[in-house]
């Protein structure tokens, strides 16, 4: 039964990891920018859900609908006003710029919310489903379903909509996309906005399950990194596969050698993948 429980936990956690990582993966894949603010966006989204519930009694599901447009606009503006100016600069410059932005956002959150851990507790509690010895809390299940729905939504958007096709086109070949009449600047901004919106939504879902604190942003960012590299850049299904693989390895590792080594294990996995298969599980070589 323990094995089944570990498997189910990994499944639940894996979908959430995928949700954390897809926005990050999208930005990295399309803009070729490692977006170090991603972790802080997630935490900000969590605070949004927490604040809405605590102060106004708005349920997290509704907060999800609010977070998406708010974060989209935030990301859009950020890209247009700041990131766009250095988008052609080398890796080091874009990386350092997003790091600077992250410092500002994270510091602002520590300033306003302090470093305390908070928890969003729904009342009445949603309870949990237990079948034989396997227990799954309902709120986790709902969060997982929402994460899957968001992932599916992004997939549909990239597949079916005109903007989505333009994003994929820019990712595949920027110059050819320009020749086809795609406005690359605004596609970049939209992709960054989408990344931010997904981060915000992921944050709302995270608030349901994990304690919230500005200090956790780097952990989310680390997870996004690992999932991205495991799954392959800029691919939605890759993020899902990477998330599941990471959650599985972490779950099995924690059960076998203790939870204290889970991060080391995931980073060892990252290094192995970086060296052996840098294009990821579902990525294609030369596609980054």
């Amino acid at each position: 039964m323990l094995a089944v429980q570990v498997l189910i936990n990994a499944l639940v956690l894996g979908c959430l990891y995928a949700c954390i990582a897809i926005g990050f993966s999208l930005v990295w894949g399309v803009l070729n920018v490692i977006n170090l603010i991603h972790g802080s966006f997630i935490v900000l989204g969590a605070y949004l859900a927490w604040g809405a519930y605590q102060w106004a009694g708005i349920s997290p599901w509704f907060a999800l609908a609010v977070a998406a447009p708010v974060f989209f606009v935030l990301g859009y503006l950020l890209q247009r006003l700041l990131l766009n100016r250095v988008i052609t600069a080398p890796v080091l410059v874009t990386l350092t710029l997003t790091f600077g932005l992250d410092l500002i956002l994270n510091n602002a959150m520590i300033y306003y919310f302090k470093a305390d851990y908070r928890k969003l507790t729904l009342s009445p509690p949603t309870g949990s489903i237990s079948l034989f010895d396997v227990v799954v809390p309902v709120d986790r299940l709902i969060a997982t379903a929402s994460a899957l729905a968001l992932t599916g939504l992004l997939y549909l958007l990239l597949r079916r909509s005109k903007v989505g096709r333009a994003i994929v086109a820019v990712r595949l070949d920027r110059d050819a996309a320009v020749l086809m009449g795609v406005d690359v600047k605004s596609i970049y901004a939209i992709a960054f906005g989408l990344g931010a919106a997904l981060a915000g939504c992921a944050g709302v879902l995270m608030a349901l399950i994990f304690p919230i604190s500005p200090l956790t942003s780097s952990a989310y960012l680390g997870k996004a990194f690992v999932v991205c590299v495991l799954g392959g850049l800029g691919s939605v299904s890759g993020a899902l596969a990477g998330g599941l693989l990471l959650a599985l390895v972490e779950g099995i590792g924690s059960t076998l050698i203790g939870p204290a080594h889970a991060t080391t294990l995931s980073f060892v996995l990252l290094i192995i993948f970086l060296v052996v298969r840098p294009q990821g599980l579902l990525g294609r070589k030369g596609f980054e």
């Binding site: 080398p90 350092t96 410092l103 590299v229 080391t264 980073f267």
Partner: protein
């Protein structure tokens, strides 16, 4: 020996006269200035010469600090402990570099960033050896008074800076520096003309790590107490990059000037905005990248009416 390198050595020599002018505060600031300059110079070997965006500085700083701390606790004298950590860092970094430096661009940046996390996690979990999250207490080195102690550690750090600068100058003028330059410009081509780029990059990574590790050792002995979140702070990885960007990538004199300017800014910000200092630091970084992409060197009279281009 070029004129710029002479200027660098003269600048470092000027720093040595600091104890003549100030008390304990000036000495503390001077020690940190030397430490930052060591970071920036070391980062410059792999980031500036070879063009690999390394975020591993914090990893080796922490590693050196812990190695020295543990050795000191075992009763090894300070000089031996610091030299020991220097050698350990060199070997470890060269070995890791042989694997990690096969990656390029973003991937290398992330792999080196994750190195910091891995080291922190390992130190956190090796409770018997390192004290884990409780931190590590390090015995006082001399105990001959506050000012004498401060002077001693200032000169220790300054001496290390001098050695680092000398090595960087030698490297930049040597075959190794030439090879790294080739790797930065076109690695595939330099491989094809028979340059052993793996060896060159490994040595460069080792050199960029060993002095940082030794600085970590001196830092540990100086502050007498280290804990993982302190010495494996990711900011230690980012600061050298900001300094190098500030002073101008690739030039040893530039990055040392960048380090000093950065420290000055940091000190002013820390003093005045203690609650929001990292936010202000973020604003500084963004302003720097947006308006001075080539560092302080691009601060010429011409820049005000001619747009500077990005590299």
């Amino acid at each position: 020996m070029t004129r710029v390198n002479w200027a660098l050595l003269i600048l470092i020599a000027c720093v040595a006269s600091l104890p003549l002018f100030g008390g304990a505060y000036a000495l503390r600031l001077g020690t940190i200035a030397c430490m930052y300059a060591i970071f920036a110079l070391s980062w410059n070997i792999v980031g500036g010469f070879a063009g690999y965006p390394s975020f591993a500085t914090a990893a080796f700083f922490g590693f050196g600090a812990y190695a020295t701390g543990i050795l000191l606790n075992k009763g090894v004298p300070l000089s031996v402990a610091v030299i020991g950590s220097l050698l350990m860092c060199f070997v470890l970094a060269a070995a890791l570099g042989a694997v990690l430096l096969r990656l390029r661009g973003h991937y290398f940046a992330i792999a080196s960033l994750s190195l910091v996390e891995v080291f922190r996690e390992l130190v956190n979990n090796a409770t018997d050896l390192t004290g884990g999250g409780m931190g590590l207490n390090i015995p006082l080195a001399s105990g001959s008074g506050i000012l004498a102690d401060a002077t001693f550690f200032f000169y220790a750090m300054w001496g290390l800076l001098l050695i680092t600068a000398a090595v960087v100058i030698i490297v930049s003028a040597s075959k190794l520096g030439f090879g790294l330059n080739c790797i930065r410009q076109n690695e595939t081509a330099s491989n094809m003309v028979g340059l052993n780029s793996t060896l060159y990059k490994s040595v460069a990574f080792g050199l960029s790590a060993c002095f940082v590790g030794a600085a970590g050792g001196i830092y540990a002995a100086w502050v007498h107490y280290i804990d993982p979140s302190d010495v494996f702070d990711i900011l230690y990885s980012v600061k050298p990059i900001v300094m190098a960007l500030m002073g101008g990538l690739g030039s040893p004199l530039g990055v040392v000037c960048g380090a000093f300017v950065y420290l000055g800014l940091e000190e002013v910000v820390w003093r005045n905005y203690i609650q929001i200092h990292s936010g202000v630091l973020g604003v500084l970084i963004i302003m720097l990248l947006l308006f001075l992409p080539h560092g302080l060197i691009s601060l010429r009279s011409g820049m005000f009416w001619r747009r500077t281009k990005h590299v």
